[in-house]
């Protein structure tokens, strides 16, 4: 019987030691306690020091807190300068506590005491409470030379150092070697476009300054990507405009096309035969001039137009500029816009669809105005709160609300009613009065069947009072049609509803009329009936055996749930009876 118990204990120990991850209770592998009552009968007290000392260090030299040679380190109980009292836990020790690592530690393996029935090993064991104090731990002292020591590391030589560093290396600040992208004989989509400064024989890439990080400031080094037609905008802050005006190349149009040419196809440095294409400015702009504190002819927009021909690369490149005047002392801010548009002889990328065929969420709504395709727009407010010449586009599926102050330019009390009404209606509609709305995103202007008329509901005269439209509600009804797996959004109809108020009741101020526009999209999609076999969203599925009973008792279950429950109970009873 005793032998069996020992075997059980050993088995448990083996299990614990063999585990890769020790459990929470076994974290006390290392503890600082008085060695005298912990040592087994067969072990001399010096064992620990020799164990921990390793091979190179002599015994008694391990004292991690003895950092001032020749002096006694505070609370360092193993420091020989502090006297032998502390290391022996004597009562004459002047320290209130010992630093971790300065007292003897014992390697122990512990497991919960409740797991053991009886202990009859001849070796020293003890029962200690764990750190939280709620469970008792049964601990055995570890005396296994394999487990108590770290394994001896390899000897490092010149040859195996890179190997070991590669094998054990973890991510670090040492940058991995970056492989240069292999140069191809033609541009691929997204490749930087190479440029060549003939005067200095320097190869570079065409830049498209853009904002980066979470800052709108221009980053001049951003390369332009081949075939990536896009426009970027960023700002430049000048604290000393008078000196920067004529010297900063970013303000001078010439720096965007002069002195360099674009390479038709990319080159590699080994076989250097650049096929250059000159950048042609549409109009030659003037250079910036400083007059007082104003800087004239500053570049505010750069537009490159690139003609390409497949793998034959860039055929033609032209540049247009918009210039502006900036002033401000000491600080002035300039916004610049940089656009690249690529086009081919066969087709251009300038025309956009709003979907093909169904509308895409977030794209502008298309309307037909006098036979031409236009985007539907609503009023936009400008910095002083008045209605702006610019207008917002209505984006598909985005409910919007905007308001602005309409300047009637005449005294409202003296205004001709019908004239005022007409000008407000015009302001709401914008320059292009949307007559018909495209049903799908790819509607063709020549196909009248692809356009829905907009129902416009203007105000009616009431008792001869002058009714002024102050609010426009645009209601768009749409639905998804087609395959369930590939739904296409269609606009079924739209209404422009004007809300009017009598002119007299408007508490107007300074000839201003506050105009509000709201846009509401309504989804009237009809979904197909789900087939019987597929579960519906509101079905409750039985999660445990008692579910049908619980549902039947509470009486809230749907009929299908209780049916399933009855079926389950019946089946159970049948099974029992048959057996």
């Amino acid at each position: 019987m005793a032998v069996e118990q020992l075997i059980v204990l050993l088995l448990l120990l083996v299990l614990v030691l063999g585990k890769a991850e020790p459990e929470k209770e076994n974290d006390t592998l290392y503890s600082e306690e008085d060695p005298t009552n912990e040592m087994g009968p067969s072990e001399p007290p010096e064992v620990w020091r020799e164990e921990r000392a390793g091979h190179r260090m002599g015994s008694l030299s391990v004292c991690p807190c003895d950092l001032h040679p020749g002096y006694c380190d505070l609370n360092c109980c193993c420091d020989s300068r502090c006297g032998s009292e502390c290391s022996m836990e004597g009562s004459m020790c002047p320290f209130s506590f010992c630093l971790p690592g300065s007292t003897r530690a014992v390697s122990r393996v512990c497991l919960e005491k409740s797991l053991l029935f009886r202990n009859n090993t001849p070796y020293f064991t003890e029962v200690v409470p764990d750190s939280s104090g709620c469970t008792l731990l049964f601990c055995v002292q570890l005396n296994n030379s394999k487990l108590n020591y770290f394994q001896k590391p390899q000897v490092i030589t010149k040859e195996n150092l890179p190997l070991l560093s590669a094998q054990y290396g973890r991510p670090s600040f040492i940058l991995p070697e970056q492989t240069e992208p292999s140069s191809s004989s033609f541009y691929r989509v997204g490749d930087p476009i190479q440029i060549y400064f003939a005067a200095s024989s320097v190869l570079s890439v065409l830049k498209q300054p853009a904002s980066m990080f979470a800052s709108r400031l221009c980053s001049d080094e951003n390369p332009a990507g081949f075939l990536e037609s896009k426009s970027t905008s960023c700002i430049r802050i000048f604290t000393n405009l008078t000196s920067k005006c004529t010297t900063d190349p970013a303000l001078d149009a010439a720096s965007y096309y002069r002195d360099f040419s674009v390479l038709k196809v990319p080159v590699n440095l080994t076989v250097f035969q650049p096929l250059q294409v000159k950048i042609i400015p549409v109009t030659v702009p003037a250079s910036p001039i400083l007059n007082g504190s104003t800087c004239y002819n500053v570049v505010s927009e750069v537009l490159y137009e690139v003609e390409f021909n497949g793998i034959h690369g860039i055929q033609n490149i032209s540049v247009q500029f918009k210039v502006d005047n900036i002033y401000g002392n000491p600080k002035s801010i300039l916004q610049q816009r940089f656009s690249l548009s690529f086009w081919n002889k066969n087709h251009s990328f300038t025309k956009w669809r709003s979907g093909n065929p169904g509308y895409i969420s977030g794209v502008p709504l298309v309307a037909l105005c006098n036979g031409t395709q236009q985007y539907v727009t609503i009023l936009q407010t400008q910095d002083n709160g008045q209605c702006s010449e610019k207008r917002y586009r209505i984006l598909f599926r985005e409910n919007m609300r905007t308001a602005c102050q309409f300047n009637a330019s005449v005294k409202l009390e003296e205004a001709n009613c019908s004239h005022l009404q007409e000008s407000v209606y015009r302001a709401f509609q914008g320059p292009h009065n949307p007559g018909r709305l495209a049903i799908t995103g790819n509607a063709d202007a020549s196909q009248p069947g692809e356009w829905n008329s907009i129902f416009t509901q203007r105000c009616t005269m009431q008792d001869g009072r002058c009714m002024i439209p102050i609010s426009l509600e645009i209601q768009v009804i749409w639905a998804q049609v087609g395959l369930l797996s590939n739904p296409q959004a269609q606009i079924l109809g739209a209404r422009y509803l004007y809300i009017c108020k009598p002119l007299k009741s408007l508490g107007t101020y300074m000839n201003m009329l506050p105009l509000t526009t709201t846009v509401a999209f309504t989804d009237v999609t009809k979904w197909p009936e789900p087939p019987r076999s597929q579960p519906r969203a509101y079905w409750k599925l039985p999660f445990d055996f008692f579910f049908p009973f619980k549902m039947a008792l509470s009486g809230v279950g749907s009929s299908s749930g209780s049916q399933a429950g009855t079926l389950l109970v019946t089946l159970t009873l049948c099974g029992v009876l048959v057996s």
Partner: protein
């Protein structure tokens, strides 16, 4: 059906750093561990001293915390009002399904008063929008958070990086309940210091249990009831036949091939 388990993830700092310092007057300075990004920064690039140390406190082979420190040199006239810091990690779980991803910790903090150092201490927490699997290898998100080889500025735009990261169903987030601590007042010669201590805590991971795991509990529930019903039915049967409530004809076994039925005894 969902279950959960606890595991300490194996997290390693990838030593990828993206730092933006928002300077007074609308300007910004920055640094990243990507050469292409630093090229884009141009004059706004400041080369800092970075140090990182990962520690395995309980020596169980899994890293427990990261000490990160960054000293950004500044001119005496420059002042930092805000910082945005991105650190990336590899994050690995292995108890149920082996889940590997590259994740990030994003710290954004600002102060109305120019600061000299920011100290943050927090946890790298797991955010799950969907349960993980119970088996197999899941490396859907084992892709770089920041595309460090790209030469384009848009790939280093924080809004794009965060937007792409938040598309993921499993992410990590730096949760510092106390928030970053700003220390204000910088000596002109001192650098701006960011000090972060990021713990890798044990996570409760929600997962989808497999078929056998579900059937195990279903079986236990079934058997426990079956035994009761079996016993009751047996009693009823015995009662019915012993008291001859129903008409029953005893059939004697004709041949030994027939199975022996209990209720005939």
């Amino acid at each position: 059906k969902r279950s959960s388990y606890a595991e300490q993830p194996s997290v390693r700092f990838l030593h990828e750093v993206l730092l933006v310092g928002l300077a007074e007057g609308g300007g910004s300075v920055g640094w990243s561990s990507f050469a292409a990004c630093n090229r884009l920064l141009g004059a706004r690039l400041r080369l800092p001293l970075v140090s990182a140390r990962e520690e395995d406190v309980n020596q169980d082979g899994v890293m427990d915390l990261l000490h990160f420190r960054l000293e950004l040199p500044l001119q005496s006239t420059e002042q930092i009002l805000g910082v945005q810091l991105m650190l990336t990690f590899t994050y690995q779980l292995q108890r149920m399904s082996t889940f590997v991803m590259q994740s990030m910790a994003f710290l954004q903090s600002s102060s109305p008063v120019p600061g000299s150092r920011v100290i943050v201490s927090g946890d790298l927490r797991l955010r799950q929008r969907q349960p993980l699997g119970h088996c197999g290898l899941d490396d859907r998100y084992n892709v770089s958070v920041i595309n460090g080889s790209s030469p384009f500025a848009q790939d280093y735009d924080l809004t794009n990086i965060v937007a792409a990261y938040q598309e993921r169903n499993v992410t990590t987030v730096l949760s510092a309940d106390a928030g970053p601590i700003w220390v204000v007042g910088r000596a002109p010669s001192d650098p701006f210091v960011i000090q972060a201590t990021i713990h890798y805590p044990v996570e409760l991971i929600v997962y989808q249990p497999g078929f056998w795991e579900m059937i195990k509990f279903a079986w236990i529930q079934y058997v426990s009831l079956l035994l009761i019903f079996f016993w009751i039915c047996e009693k009823i049967k015995t009662f019915l036949f012993q008291n001859q409530v129903l008409d029953a004809v005893p059939v004697l076994p004709v041949s030994s091939v027939l199975t022996h039925k209990e209720h005939q005894s």
